[in-house]
Amino acid sequence: MENYDVIIVGAGMAGSYAAKEFCDAGLKTLLLERGRDVVHLQDYPTTSMNPWEFKYKGDLPWEVKKDIPIQSKCYACREDAAHFFIKDTDHPYIQDKPFDWLRGYQVGGKSIMWARQTQRWSDFDFEGPERDGFAVDWPIRYKDLAPWYDKVEHFIGVAGNKDGLDMLPDGDFLKSWDLNCVEDHFKSSIESAYKDRHVIFGRCAHLSEVRDIHRQQGRTLCQSRTLCQRGCPFGGYFNANSTLIPWAQRTGNLTLRPFSVVQSITYDEKMGKASGVRVIDANTKEEMEYGAKVVFVCAATINTNILLLNSKSDRFPNGLGNDSGVLGKYVAFHNYNATISGRHDGHLEFTTEGRKPTSAYLPRFRNLRRQETDFLRGYAATFGASRPDVGNSDGAGDELMANLMAPTQPAEAWGVYSQMMGETIPKESNYVSLDATEKDQWGMPLVHINIDYDDNDRKMEQDFLDQFSEMFEKAGFKDIRTATNTRVPGNDIHEMGGVRMGRDPKTSMLNGNNQLHAVPNVFVTDGACMTSVSTQNPSLTFMALSARAANFAIEAMKKAEL
């Protein structure tokens, strides 16, 4: 059996961040990834293709579409990037309730296709469960994570402004893109009408400037192509493939093994700790075992739950570390289920030029400093105003051709749009579990997903629509339209929990250093570890937790404590 200092399961951004830290510390690290390798630059086949070079001009052939009924619900799963999403027919799961489980099985995971929004959490988030009486208390606070946010942001590159807001702490940002004049107008209107509501430019993992650390990674300036989901030839946005994996490989300490489905974590009853992992080769189906002093589980929320639930032994008959019985439970997500749009007839003498890779953002204001509504917690929101150049495609025959050939004009009004990003409450009744008999082609039990909205979510959606209708009216926007029920859970791609952190082993799985209470040499640092979900896009926090836990493990290994 091959032995390593550390085994990491999953080469997405959580696992790859941990790999970088361990490799930098000189530890022999095995990074196991169930999917294929995706090498930066080499494996982005569509990255430099023009629209006319796509055979179907953006659509997908039925041969592909029929096998991806879930993945194709993701806006990024189109002709240019569908190859980074899994084939649903190869990876079945059981939806006890409707749930879109969106996945990318490859080196880099979903970091290749993600939308790169990177907002920090604050103590309004970490203290939330304790203040509002749900889930369990987080065992950490913002101050514990702040230096790790600094470290991650510095390394990956995050563009943003220092906005000075306590609910969305500032970081070590690269310069931000600017709000356009209507976004600015909305900002002034909201900030003068309400005390605690803010419109900022969303922080995003793009190189708006290039620092030395990014040059060392071989990355350069973001060109605002807004084709990020294809992989970027400039390394202009952060993904694990351009930034973390090559860095870790250069240390000589990384062994990256694609096509390795980790089936379970092996437990040594005598030693009272994990001894390694059992792996099935995705192609040959050959079984093998690897040993390590420390195991990091970063397979992304649901797969991490599956892996722990499937790691059974005499000591842990209900899944590794599951003395409390909470494994698989208290899963939550982000409620993206309400949107609002409208028209702005002002600022018509202005327009924009070029493209920008992200949009404006309203940090949470509801129930922030005190409970003000009959639902718990609150929502953040995206906001965008745009005035595209529009052509005319009316008519038929020569008239249509003449219309198409006429120069485009800026749209007659600005379009404005916002979408909620609501915090949902982790509940025991929102859970994942393993089927007793059905297995996938790699012998892994199929997962049941039992996750749904609740009354709190419905009330929050309504509040978002009421508040934003009022804010849109105050800003003078017209023709306001609202929509709900646009998405089922999972489509937000921010599912979290099931292996939550907490102070008490009786009610949680992990301690404040992301170690399983009952098996201290196993760490979970992806979305599964999250005690609550906040409103902010979570992946920056996964990486900060990974970096923090990895450095804790490095120190503990130096002292022979692991």
């Binding site: 086949p45 039925w62 356009n180 920008k356």
Partner: protein
């Protein structure tokens, strides 16, 4: 400066073909899902909806070839059937052969096929054909670069410019 250097300094990988499965359909060949007669009908409709007379703007793949390929390869079996049923109803209900009609007459026929009271499948067939013709034409190199100033790397972002 940094921007220009960045552009110069990076070799953009040449991409030969898409990763997605496709059939051997090339050029103006007819897809097998459609009979010769049907293909001719579709070509006539494409010509009527969007007559491309300027050689410079001829799409890389003709409107009818793209339309037939997209229907055959991208539509679900149900969508394909509906499209075909619409096409056949369109052909069968014509009092006169569409392919032989004059321009104005053809446009009248198409207008009525898209009107409120028209047969649902016929409406679907004509509106989908129109949609695909437009998608094909508006994504051609000559149109995007010539008429829409498309560039993969856009001008640097300006958040607010005065319209002159």
């Amino acid at each position: 400066m940094e921007r220009r250097q960045a552009i110069r300094g990076i070799t953009i990988l040449a991409v030969g073909s898409s990763l997605l499965p496709s059939c051997n359909f090339t050029g103006d060949q007819k897809a097998s899902f459609f009979s010769n007669k049907e293909a001719k009908q579709i070509a006539a409709i494409c010509g009527a909806i969007l007559p491309v007379t300027d050689e410079k703007f001829k799409p890389e793949m003709s409107s009818e070839a793209f339309t037939m390929m997209a229907v055959e390869e991208c539509y679900s079996p149900e969508e394909k059937e509906k499209y075909k049923l619409g096409l056949q109803t369109f052909m069968n209900s014509a009092t006169e052969d569409f392919t032989k009609q004059g321009k104005d007459q053809q446009l009248e026929v198409l207008k009525s096929a898209l009107s409120e009271g028209a047969d649902e499948n016929v409406r679907y067939f004509v509106s989908q054909t129109r949609r695909l013709i437009l998608r094909n034409f508006t994504t051609t190199k000559s149109f995007m670069e010539g008429q829409r100033s498309y560039s993969m790397i856009p001008k640097p972002y300006k958040a607010c410019i005065k319209i002159s």
